[in-house]
Amino acid sequence: MENTNLNNQVVNLTKEDFVCDQIVKWCPGCGDHAILKVLQDVFPQLGRRKEDICVVSGIGCSSRFPHYMNTYGFHSIHGRACAIATGVKLANPNLSVWVVSGDGDCTAIGGNHFIHAVRRNMDMNLLLFNNRIYGMTKGQFSPCTFRGTVTKTSPQGTYEDPFNVGELVIGAGGKFFARGVDVNTKELTDICLRAKNHDGMSVIEVLQNCMIFSNGVHENITGKDVRDDMQVKCEHGKPLIFGKERNKGLRLNGTTLEVVTIGENGITEKDILVHDEKEENTGIHMMLAHMMPPAFPVAIGVIRNVDAPTYDDCLTDVIERESAKSNIKTVDDLLNSGTTWDIK
């Protein structure tokens, strides 16, 4: 039996409650294994009954996810996870809806559904596994593949620029965007719990490694030697300081960000930009999302977390308001409303 606390939150679930009997079929060493463990850790902490959680996915390696989570799950078709999840959420707003997708699924074939789910602020949590490649179809470039990358379908290297997922989300009016790394499970767990607490659409980009087709694509960010210098942790209210020596920081210079070193050229901690995830204006969040090596570290953590009405709440409110004030309570009432006449 599930126990609940005073807030009616389910409290005594464990990871084992969410482990499925299906054999996990991802390649050994795939970043997906780590993310699966994260969600199996996160779900017991949602405070929800197992039955009130629904995992929805599209197609691709990441989209196998629902089969490995012992909740309600819908593994759908390529690119449509956001659209399916929208229906699930609107049909039953009480459900905690988690969407799992990849860079191909979400930013190529499903790009339209993705940006519109973000724009509407549907109350769902989306994990976008970004390995910058199509894995399941065996190694074609995706909209997130860097220019010049040689893949099965770009033997001379790609000649198009990739999407930056954070910019896409914020540009689409997104209210919550965070970025994490597959193997940094503690950090990713915290991000997922932050997403859960956000009312509205939360998008988490997970920098995920595909051992087979894009191995090491995030190495310049996540490698042991470079990660401290190439990742800046975004924590609300704290200065954006990073580096092995914790002496580098981001400073707003005019309208752009720059990397500065504390203690050089008279720079002190006071000059460093303090992260404000609640800022409505997208400017700095957009710049943080945009940052890429080698000139900049990559922003990790919750970059944007702004409150706004959710679509599902708005729909529920309108339905409650309209049904309270209307004299038409049934379809019979409706059929008999307006101009009618009797034949005797």
Partner: protein
């Protein structure tokens, strides 16, 4: 007001109101149908809007029409050739020449005639002066000037006064059909509530039109259509698209499921979505999606979560929904897809009606992906067809495509108002919480439907997928024999629906020499012709199919015993080819009209008589 002309009784009449887009012809037509209802006639209406939103004034492409077919006998169609045409300008005559027949009365606003208007309409000479209209009875009425005269004491400017000229025309028509003009007062009082001056102006102009027709003796005689012999009850006028929306809502209420409609605007289906979004008061969840695919996918998600899920579209949209329809087949979830057909392929003829999505509905998916296909036969029947589509989808756990047509969706008919409690019960196979025997793909022995286990229910957590699953457990399965079994089960499940639908009916002698077969919106016109020929003693019968996939169990019996079978449809032969495949023991003749126009009674009658020779 008394009517002094000689009165002639008629069985039924088709009248078409035509004018420039701004002339208020839709309102005039609606008012006339309201008085038709009060007169106790059966009737059906059809609006004929221009394709463009703001077409050039005075041109043929700017003509807006509204047709009313009413009668003493049952009215099965919105009518084809008209008995009366009200034409507010020369372009209205030009645009409607196709719908005239020898003897048609044309009530024409002679004040609209000038060189510019003729030129805009594409006439090189005045058609009322040469022999263009010699076959018709043209009544040249000074509608504009008489309207201005009638309103001269209102102190309005000319533009405001001219807005009422449609009421003058209506007054003339009310006289022609011996209607009491006070019948219109109810409508005026509702429509222009709190605007007493407008009500008075409308009443004044209608009365002026009526008096003009009377005192000037413009008609040799007037007409009376006796009340129709309709079943007792309460009636209303309803368009097919509204009837579709309400039928689905009735099914949701009767089944205890909330309705969810994810849709994307597309002509001529948009009005269903636009209707459903009005009823938040009845807890209807309607969602305007970002595209057709999101429309069906959000609906399928809602179906998974326990709603009566619906998506509405027209041909091109159905193409876009194909992949998700396959997912609905694979996940065995209930879903109603309404396709209000228009002329195709591609963008085709968006504002014209056709029946050419039948093959797409039956077969248009990858893999062996069977589903139920139904077709509504008239505007009011959309209510019952939509209700049945929802019932079959939920009780048999399968997607259903309901085919309607642009002409049905936009046209209207009278509906005898049913009580929702009198409609057939709908009992979806919802799985019980903590059922120890629950398995996602365990099937009902009779229907082969799996159970509907709703997220949120304790003890029923499960995963579904577009991947093939093991029968019973629902686990992913690549087992070759299981795939064959599941393919056969999905087909068999749909075929067994034949056990839950009525047998195919036949009108006329079951062994008639000629059996006419139709489906969808051709019902009314085919039936009208068959009824007429039966009265003449011809050996003809009519079988109209509502259930297309699966066909009714007695279909072979219905098709047996005739010298000839003729399949009539507004496409290039889709149902006839389906019958050739499913019922290969019979020889079929076909009659196809693919002009974006309905069959005319005369052309069907000729065809039927030819085959009887």
């Amino acid at each position: 007001m008394a009517n002094r002309s000689k009165v002639v009784e008629l069985e039924h009449v088709v009248i078409r109101f035509a004018g420039d887009s701004g002339d208020g012809m839709q309102l005039t037509g609606n008012l006339f149908s309201d008085s038709t209802a009060l007169a106790g006639n059966d009737f059906a209406t059809f609006p004929d809007y221009p394709g463009e939103i703001r077409p050039p004034q005075g041109t043929v492409s700017g003509v807006s029409g509204f047709q009313v077919h009413f009668g003493h006998k049952p009215v099965h169609t919105t009518g084809d050739l008209c008995d009366v045409l009200v034409a507010m300008n020369p372009a209205s005559i030009k645009a409607n020449m196709r719908w005239l027949k020898p003897g048609t009365t044309i009530i024409f606003d002679v004040d609209s005639m000038n060189d510019k208007a003729l030129e805009k309409a594409g006439y090189t000479a005045d058609p009322t002066q040469d022999d263009t209209l010699s076959q018709y009875k043209v009544v040249k009425a000074p509608i504009t000037s008489m309207t201005l005269e009638a309103l001269k004491d209102f102190g309005w400017d000319r533009k405001a006064m001219l807005k009422s000229k449609n009421m003058f025309a209506l007054g003339i028509v009310m006289y022609l059909f011996n209607r009491d003009i006070t019948m219109l007062n109810g409508y005026f009082n509702t429509k222009f509530k709190n605007k007493p001056e407008i009500i008075k102006a409308n009443q004044t102009v209608v009365a002026a039109g009526y008096s003009y027709a009377d005192t000037m003796e413009i008609f040799a005689n007037t007409y009376r259509i006796e009340p129709a012999n309709l079943a007792k009850g309460k009636y209303r006028d309803i368009t097919g698209n509204v009837a579709t929306a309400w039928g689905l809502m009735a099914a949701a209420e009767r089944s205890g499921r909330q309705i969810f409609c994810g849709s994307y605007p597309i002509t001529p289906a948009t009005d269903i979505l636009a209707e459903l979004v009005k009823y938040k008061n009845l807890k209807v969840k309607a969602f305007q999606a970002e595209d057709e695919i999101a429309g069906i996918c959000s609906s399928l998600g809602a179906s998974f979560a326990g709603c009566l899920a619906v998506t509405t579209t027209s041909g091109p949209g159905l193409s876009l929904k194909s992949e998700a329809l396959g997912l609905a087949v694979m996940t065995e979830l209930p879903l109603v897809v309404v396709d209000v057909q228009r002329g195709g392929p591609s963008t085709g003829l968006p504002t014209k009606s056709e029946q050419s999505d039948l093959m797409q509905a039956i077969y248009g998916r990858n893999g062996d992906a069977p589903l139920i296909v139904l077709a509504a036969r008239s505007s009011a029947d959309c209510f019952y067809s939509a209700y049945e589509a929802a019932k079959l989808a939920m009780e048999h756990m399968t997607p259903v495509i309901l085919l309607t047509e642009g002409a049905l969706g936009n046209g209207s008919e009278i509906l005898r108002i049913p009580r929702v409690a009198d409609l057939p019960a709908i009992v979806p196979p919802i799985a019980k919480a903590n059922d120890p025997d629950y398995q996602p793909y365990k099937r009902d022995e009779e229907t082969l439907a799996r159970q509907w286990a709703l997220p949120g229910t304790e003890g029923l957590r499960h995963r579904i997928s577009g991947l093939e699953k093991a029968n019973g457990s629902g686990n992913l399965s690549l087992d070759p024999k299981n795939h064959q079994l599941m393919t056969e089960l999905r087909e068999e499940k749909v075929q067994r629906v034949a056990n839950y639908i009525p047998e195919q009916e036949i009108v006329g002698d079951p062994n008639a020499d000629l059996l006419v077969v139709s489906w969808g919106g051709t019902y009314g016109v085919v039936l009208s012709v068959v009824e007429k020929m039966l009265e003449e003693g011809k050996s003809v019968a009519h079988a109209h199919f509502r259930h297309i996939m699966p066909l009714p169990k007695n279909t072979a019996k219905v098709l047996s015993g005739h010298k000839k079978i003729l399949v009539c449809e507004n496409n290039n032969g889709q149902f006839v080819n389906y019958l050739r495949e499913k019922m290969p023991d019979f020889k079929y003749e076909q009659y196809n009209k693919i002009q974006g126009l309905p069959f005319l009674t005369a052309e069907l009658e000729n065809k039927f008589n030819d085959l009887l020779k």
